[in-house]
Symmetry: C2
């Protein structure tokens, strides 16, 4: 368990005639000199190329591994990547990891990438084109083998340019154009929320719609409003307000929605944190969520169920989205065709939307 560097060896150890490079960290050369073997042989042993013709003898292999352990050899992936022309590195762009949804997706990405033998390098783009561009250039510079984008804009302008690099990529969380992607089935999710509120008797509803360039918010909103429109209760344009996915955005949007008289009897927020912002504003105005105004969020983050007024939400399999995204990417790198995958959402009804509309 305890690691130890090359410099930790016994100082008085008698050195073989040749000057053993004991200066910096141990490299293949260090081991080669110590064992009297050639560096290529050491490399093959350590890479487990034991199968096939090129294998070393069992005894040699054992000796190499022994010495490698002793000197605390740790391979230089940079050098290997240079030679191999592949970094075994996946670049990941997220809008921001303080968004728990994106952090959860990233966990799925990281875990699954590790299983496939890839490392990941993640950056926050803050949904800002310049920052995104800078970080992507950085990742390209580090020769990532592929990319995962969790911050796509629905217009797909950036991705069109990026595709020219020939680096394979898949989108998670937000789809865009016909690029390969793994997302929650946001249309189905939006409809679930609509069905639920409609069934409760709500007809005057408002939507906190998320950022206008994010496909997840767009789809959730579109399916939701379509459902009401199809039943003869179209949602007026001013009752759909765009805002950031966090609590502050939700609060801002709620202010606008509730300034209208009569205020909506139900609010659908396309993100739980935005919904929490809505709950806060309701309380400030002396309205009780679940009684005066029904609230439904999206994603079903862990705290949704723990809130003082537990929040109804559409469950988004976030970890799964990340995991499946990497799976798809790996398949694509093997030459399999790109896909657009959607994962099924699930409605979780809680107190914030439990009681039927009384027409108050």
């Amino acid at each position: 368990m305890v690691l130890h560097g090359a410099s930790e060896g016994k100082a008085a150890e008698p050195e073989p005639d040749g000057p053993v490079a004991s200066g910096g960290r141990a490299t293949l050369k260090t081991i080669a000199e110590l064992t009297g073997l050639h560096v290529s042989t050491v490399s093959r042993v350590l890479n487990g190329t034991t199968s096939g013709a090129r294998a070393a003898s069992a005894a040699t292999a054992e000796r190499v591994r022994q010495v490698a352990l002793e000197v605390g050899y740790v391979p230089d992936i940079q050098a290997a990547g240079l030679r191999r022309q592949s970094s075994r590195l996946l670049g990941v762009m997220m809008a921001r990891l303080t968004d728990q949804v994106l952090a959860s997706i990233y966990e799925g990405v990281e875990r699954t990438a590790t299983q496939h033998g890839f490392h990941t390098m993640v950056s926050n783009s803050w949904d800002d084109p310049a920052t995104r561009q800078a970080h992507v250039s950085m990742l390209l510079s580090r020769r990532v083998d592929a990319m995962i984008f969790g911050d796509a804009h629905v217009d797909g302008a950036f991705l069109a340019g990026f595709a020219a690099h020939g680096v394979p990529f898949v989108l998670v969380n937000r789809r865009a154009g016909d690029h390969p992607s793994v997302t929650c089935d946001d249309l189905a999710g939006g409809q679930l929320a609509a069905e639920h509120l409609y069934a409760l008797g709500h007809r005057r509803v408002g939507v906190v719609a998320g950022l206008p360039y994010a496909a997840n918010g767009i789809d959730r909103t579109a399916a939701f409003t379509r459902y009401f429109a199809e039943r003869g209760h179209p949602v007026p344009g001013d009752q759909v307000v765009h805002a950031s996915f966090d609590a502050a955005g939700g609060a801002l949007a709620a202010e606008k929605l509730l300034d209208r008289a009569p205020h909506p009897s139900a609010i659908f927020a396309v993100s739980d944190f935005a919904a929490i912002g809505v709950l806060g504003v309701l309380r400030e105005r002396g309205l009780r969520a679940g009684r005066d105004v029904a609230v439904v969020g999206f994603n079903d983050v862990p705290i949704a169920a723990q809130l003082t007024i537990p929040l109804s939400s559409v469950r988004n399999p976030m970890y799964e989205v990340g995991a499946r995204g990497v799976d798809l990417l790996v398949r694509m790198m093997r030459g399999e065709p790109p896909e657009r995958i959607t994962l099924a959402p699930e409605l979780r009804i809680r107190e914030s939307s439990a009681s039927p509309y009384t027409g108050a």
Copy 2:
């Protein structure tokens, strides 16, 4: 803004006599051949080594930059790192990025590292030794120039071993031993919470203490209980319960604390998300936070103020912790001495602990 690869050039362009390596992506060699210069000259130009004696002429430099742009050259940092023996990469270990506190700290780390010309590579350790070890080995393999640990265990066993690598590091979020670190002043923070609740009249208090190996939780708890003990109201051992920092952990701990009769009149949770778990349990038991039981959290995450019962909290300058951590690390790499820095917390009183204890 739009990127374009080397393969995007006009196909019919007449090539200079030598075979121009137009196959894969553009390298220094590509540019060298296109300009008729030597690769070393190109390198110097592109690295902005314009100062001093070795500079290229202004005309040459301009031509090089022009061609570099045309062929869409993007440097190979791996190769540069190999030669330069420094990756300009900072490794970051966090317990898990779905913890908004750690994600915020990471944002500070990422931003500040970028300012200093470093890239960051972050991994989730899940507070699990084996996973931590695996990811750290990975980062070492990628030849990180330094490390930031946000997941230190207070015993410091792992770090003692790690120090042998000679890779400089600083701790953020959780201190350990006398390793350099940047943390919130958790002792001061715990005391702030204690002073506040004591002043309100609470004498029978409980603590949700966080994970037993996390110094931040330990310090916050220690200062809190010490304050009460010094005033003749020691907190019984069974009223200090350890749990994870998230809502689930807080809920679990709250169950235990409230099973006791009489239950505590105030609960201090060393994390806001744990506090939210506490709020949930209070509600389930028909107790009202802020009236029946005062609750104070820690960190002051954005949603604390937005909750239906806004949560009192001790503000932790999380972003700042990350940023200052990198600053310190960079200074250390320049040879300046290590430090242990603490940042001042600040009490934010809200409804969850606004009313004085009535002795109910």
